[in-house]
Amino acid sequence: MAGLVYSDIDLRGAFQYNKRKKEKTVMEVKEKLALLADVLEVEDELTPEMVLSEIDEYNSMAKLSLIVMMSDEFSKKLTNEEIKSFVTVQDILNYME
């Protein structure tokens, strides 16, 4: 009986932890999207599935701005080849770790 109680507590704890983790992940994605929207200077809201080649503001100046942001915020040196490999907004989000 006691085991079941502990088990329930463990499960509740695990559930709370996963919930917090999920909320944190969602928040992080939102933050990244906001940062990206700021860098690309887009007027509309960005979503992870958006195709970069269809975003009007995703031009060469935005790409240089992205390179500088990656260096400043994530200490990552983004190359031209890596930029070319980005197809969707999600690809950039994956790089923002």
């Binding site: 860098v39 200077e41 009007d56 790409k63």
Partner: protein, 192 residues
């Protein structure tokens, strides 16, 4: 030397423009070569370098040389806003068009480096000055065939070997072309 810049104004919505700008750029190039040399090019006459810079195949260059006193043809395509431009010349070339705009604030330090690299001493820092500097920077990157030149210091040795031409004939837009030094640049616009 004369650099011909062919211009096309897209009339579609923003989304459609973005989808079709590459297609329009290619059409402009075909029209330019047809008009200049009387040659109808096919899609397999153009190749892409490892860095993604398009160029004519040897076969296509051969056909052009026959009609251009033994000189080849080089080209560069650029888009911004409603416009697509294609510049052609008989020397290696890079071209960029940009709607006049303020640069993103996180690029200020990079622009200061660019300004020093291009030897611009003016203290004026208007949107026009910023945009012209950008178009020169990007046309140089295209001339070099390296995409966006990330390290500005790498440009310093190249800047001395090229010259630039700038056009402000289209309202709110600036066009820069970059060619090998030793030739004068005269931009002639052809609107389609």
């Amino acid at each position: 030397m004369e650099v011909q810049v062919y211009v096309y104004r897209m009339t579609e919505t923003r989304v459609l423009r973005k989808r079709r700008e590459s297609e329009y750029g290619r059409k402009l190039l075909y029209d330019a070569v047809k008009r200049q040399y009387g040659i109808a090019l096919a899609s397999d006459d153009i190749m892409l370098s490892k860095q993604g810079k398009p160029y004519f195949t040897e076969d296509a260059q051969g056909k052009i040389k026959e009609r251009n006193d033994g000189l080849g043809c080089y080209f560069s395509i650029s888009h911004s806003g409603e416009y697509v431009v294609c510049a052609i010349a008989d020397t290696e070339i890079g071209c960029d068009i940009q709607r006049t705009r303020k640069i993103p604030s996180n690029l200020y330090p990079v622009f200061l480096e660019m300004k020093a690299c291009f030897g611009i001493e003016s203290t004026e820092w208007s949107e026009e000055v910023q945009t012209e500097l950008w178009t020169k920077y990007e046309s140089l990157g295209k001339y070099m065939g390296c995409g966006i030149p990330i390290d500005i210091k790498d440009l310093e040795s190249v800047v001395g070997n090229v010259c630039f031409g700038v056009s402000r004939e289209i309202d709110e837009y600036i066009i820069s072309v970059c060619i090998t030094k030793g030739k004068n640049v005269e931009i002639v616009l052809y609107e389609k």
